[in-house]
């Protein structure tokens, strides 16, 4: 499998989306935890850097969980907003579905190429 193939890109992005789903679920679970700051996954910016510096295998990029520290905290030091997390989850699920669709289409094309009746 070539390092810059469709499959490599989709696989890397799926891995990141999966991790992000876990981060969002963690945020929702910690809705009432005092002092908890919401988590997100850093991947797209890392991918951009890697591609700009000469194209590597996107699967080498490790998506990382981090705390953006961008949202204001409430009285208990918690910055999780349930509506915002629902929005993030909807967007992430959309990305995930799109990536799966692209993957399925790729396999369909390969199938057609092999099916030379």
């Amino acid at each position: 499998m070539k390092p810059d193939s469709v499959t490599a890109h989709v696989e890397a992005a799926l891995h990141a989306a999966n991790l992000r789903q876990k981060a969002i679920a963690n945020n929702m679970a910690n809705l009432g935890t005092p002092g908890y700051r919401r988590q997100d996954v850093r991947f797209e910016s890392l991918l951009e850097q890697a591609l700009a510096s000469g194209g590597t295998d996107p699967r080498d990029i490790e998506p990382e969980v981090f705390q953006p520290m961008e949202t204001p905290v409430n009285g208990k030091g918690n910055d999780v907003d349930v509506e915002y997390e629902v929005g993030q989850m909807l967007k992430n699920v959309g990305r995930y579905k799109t990536l799966l669709r692209v993957m399925a289409k790729k396999y369909q094309m390969m199938h057609q190429a092999m099916d030379t009746r």
């Binding site: 949202t71 509506e83 929005g87 669709r101 399925a104």
Partner: protein, 135 residues
């Protein structure tokens, strides 16, 4: 709170959800304090409003502003000589909260909340329909 990606219907609807949720907080404070005759500054509870704003010319959703007190309506006076907060003539100043007004605002805020949730649901359905094209 700044919303990272401007333009996504989901981000805009989320701002609407948060704004209406904040409005419901203010309304519930008004309702809970509809009989509060004593606050630290000596006056009865003054009803609160939430300021919502947006950037005209940009499709950017709604921003939650500050909570302001309603200075336009007067405190109504109730004749109740036995009340601990009654003045020399037996009148008590009550909060300027009218429950029917608050209830109508509450219905409006919750309907707006539902409408924003419907936007998110419809947008998800549209995305799914778009992805169907790749089947």
């Amino acid at each position: 709170m700044s919303i990272p990606r401007v333009g996504s219907p989901i981000d805009i609807a989320v701002s609407g959800l948060r704004a209406n949720s904040a409005r419901m907080n203010v309304i519930s404070s008004n309702i809970a304090n509809s009989s509060t005759t004593r606050t630290p500054n000596g006056d009865p509870y003054r009803r609160k409003d939430l300021v919502l704003s947006t950037n005209p010319g940009q499709v950017a959703g709604v921003q939650i502003g500050e909570t302001v007190e309603d200075m336009a309506t007067e405190f109504p006076k109730l004749y109740e000589p036995g009340h601990p907060d009654a003045d020399a003539n037996g009148y008590v100043q009550m909060p300027n909260v009218q429950l029917p007004v608050e209830m109508i605002n509450l219905v409006e805020a919750s309907r707006a909340y539902q409408a924003n949730a419907a936007v998110m649901r419809r947008f998800s359905e549209l995305s799914d329909t778009t992805l169907e094209l790749l089947k």
